[in-house]
């Protein structure tokens, strides 16, 4: 039995900001869900199941929030699943929802991810207390900065590359009305003169802490035929995980990321990702992760990723635009960040990305990672239905 093709027919986001004090958690998620339903011209009654994802429950101080959110998401009387795979969760959640359609368990599924980080302090929420972690490892930046340094040493990349990524993503964000950080006065000089947070990562090269939600409506072939707007079709999707720490772990280019990308390309029939993929939404919480993931995902040979960034290939008008939405560097409701990548990839192939549209995008990759660079989820979406 072949898998049912899966189409994205509705996408909704909130305007991401540092604190949505005007809405409850339920109000926040409902806003994104309603926008996705409107985009798909569907109502709550058309939804067969709800799959929700978010990062640690401690971020809002609410244990298993899907229980409380069942009413707000129209899930009463329906199946509701809650996914949690660390930072990759937004992507994983979309894939779990896609599997429900592809297995023909359900026909139309609402998937949603959120974080309302203003309810707590995410940096310290990510800093585990002793005895779980050694002291002085403050926030995700404290964990990832040494791996960035390892990349720079391994490849000989000039230390200016990180600022180029931040400068690009923050300018792209100006074209995305939903992005959190809008700094119309941004200059490369401002990025480079920002205070150093976790050497070599400056304040200007880190993701913000956002309140936001992202929702998608996934449906089968028949559902796609009724869609008022062009759907995005899922051509491949995969998750891979490896342990946090082990002898021989390559933090710069984890094997789980390489394996996950290879699986997605195999499903989608992609032989040369650099040439065949028109836009990439990758999970770049710290600027240097753009060149690192360019290599890990097979867009550049080992040691060559920074050259693509430096030569402008990943700019919005380059030949491999990366994070046209402004990416995680401009918007980071952690649990939703992966789903925003997946949704923005879908917007590109639907031709609905507005000012940050990559002209003529036919195939786009959505990518998310989490934990200690150990959980990966990715999907490849296309403007045409899959042929295999």
């Amino acid at each position: 039995m072949s898998e049912e093709p899966v189409a994205v027919v509705g996408i909704g986001q909130t305007k991401h900001v540092s604190a949505r004090r005007d809405v409850s958690i339920a109000g926040l998620v409902r806003e994104a869900a309603v926008r996705a339903l409107e985009d798909a011209a569907l109502t709550w009654a058309d939804i067969d199941a709800v799959v929700i994802g978010k990062a640690p429950d401690f971020f809002e101080g609410l244990m298993m929030p899907e229980l409380y959110l069942a009413d707000a998401l129209g899930a009463v009387g329906k199946p509701m699943l809650r996914v949690h795979t660390a930072g990759s969760v937004g992507g994983s959640t979309a894939l779990v929802a896609a599997n429900l359609v592809s297995a023909r368990v359900h026909r139309t599924v609402l998937t949603l991810a959120f974080e309302k980080q203003s309810e707590s302090n995410a940096m310290w929420g990510l800093s585990l207390p002793i005895p779980f972690q050694q002291p002085l490892l403050a926030g995700a930046g404290g964990f990832f900065a040494p791996h960035v340094r390892a990349y720079m040493r391994r490849t000989g990349a000039p230390d200016t590359v990180g600022s180029l990524v931040a400068y690009k993503d923050r300018r792209n964000a100006l074209k995305n009305p939903y992005a959190h950080i809008h700094d119309p006065d941004i200059t490369l000089e401002k990025v480079r003169s920002a205070p150093m947070l976790w050497d070599p990562i400056r304040y200007s090269e880190t993701c913000p802490s956002s309140d936001g939600a992202c929702a998608m409506i996934l449906t089968d072939r028949a559902g796609a035929a009724r869609s008022p707007h062009p759907p995005a079709w899922v051509h491949g999707g995969a998750m891979r995980s490896e342990p946090t720490l082990f002898a021989g772990k390559d933090f710069v280019s984890p094997r789980a990321g390489r394996d996950c990308a290879a699986d997605v390309y195999r499903q989608a029939g992609i032989g040369d990702p650099r040439r065949e993929i028109d836009a990439v939404e990758m999970y770049v919480p710290f600027s240097w992760y753009e060149p690192m993931w360019l290599e890990n995902l097979g867009f550049a040979d080992e040691g060559e990723g920074w050259k693509l960034t430096e030569s402008g290939v990943t700019e919005l008008d380059g030949d491999l635009p990366v994070n046209p939405s402004g990416g995680v560097l401009s918007t980071n409701p952690i649990g939703a960040s992966g789903m925003i990548r997946f949704a923005e990839a879908a917007l590109q192939v639907r031709g609905q990305a507005g000012e940050h549209q990559v002209p003529g995008a036919r195939k786009a990759l959505g990518h998310a990672y989490g934990g200690g660079a150990q959980f990966f989820s990715m999907w490849l979406v296309g403007a045409e239905p899959p042929t295999r």
Binding site: M1, S2, E3, S24, I25, A55, P56, D57, F58, F59, E60, G61, L62, M63, M64, E66, L67, Y68, L69, A70, D71, A75, V76, G77, K78, P79, M80, L81, R82, V83, H84, T85, A86, V96, N99, A103, R104, V105, G125, L126, L128, P129, F132, A238, M239, R240, S241, E242, P243, T244, F246, P254, R255, A256, D259, C260, G371, G372, Q374, F375
Partner: protein, 350 residues
Amino acid sequence: MRDVAIVAFAQTDHLRHTDELSEVEMLMPVLHRVLDATGLRTSDIGFTCSGSSDYLAGRAFSFTMALDGVGAYPPISESHVEMDGAWALYEAWVKIQTGQADTALVYSYGKSSPGTVRDVLTRQLDPYYLGPLWPDSVALAALQAQALIDAGDTDEAALAEIAHRSRTAAADNPHAQVGGPVPAGDYVVRPLRTGDCPPVGDGAAAVILAAGDTARALCPRPAWIRGIDHRIEAHGLGVRELTESPSTRLAATRAGLFRRPVDTAELHAPFTSQEVVLRKALGLDDSVNVNPSGGALAANPVMAAGLIRLGEAAARIHRGESDRALAHATSGPCLQQNLVAVLEGESAHV
């Protein structure tokens, strides 16, 4: 739909305290037992899925360390739900239905001993209107029990009989935390007495799923999942009829429970009164052997207790003690969310 079966099940001995064990250390022997039972290695497994809660562990990303116990290198196709392991099993079942995997390892674990689980579970409640009042899980279950008594569905003597039957059955369950004669005890929250409440403890469980001929090769008598479905209800207790469980009934209908009678039912009813609600929703009469393991009244490791119901039902089919069994899992206050699976041995399915 592909034919998918539970081919192996293992659980820890459930204990009040496991201070000397990390979650990984608690989990590893269980993972090894299901793998050994099937002869599979981690690298043979098509998909892995787990269920656990950061709020029990008291730290964010607690599930990441469990991967060390799995031995996830080379990297594996893997996911996690912040739910009872029964829902991890559901996600794995869906994955196998897509055809992307033929086998799946499912596990879950929970250590309630480091905290006060009655207080911890209040953090599941509406954070604006209900959570700030800290109504604990026993108090909410007591509201439900009183509603049942007021409706004439049960009385305290009948509840005591459920407790007695469950603990008597648990005497034969080597993994149970509480078994044998247990006094009804004093009221914890009226009308619920200590005997009506589950023990607080730590534990882990794992199962292996396999499709079609793979299942037949791995297990002499696979427990075939003939149907599985889950449904959620409104969160606000004030808008629910607590003496009914429409989500359980709907899930059971979708899972095909009512097509033919079952001989066994493993119900995830942490409180005696909740068995009354579930029996009504599922239409179970005295011909059905309910909770031969002792159920959640004998061992209730939060996050694993639902998966254990699926495992216990499957194990009875493996052993030839059941031909068609129902397994149920629940989550949330007063049975808010419910999962129902119908399992069968091959000979019963002609």
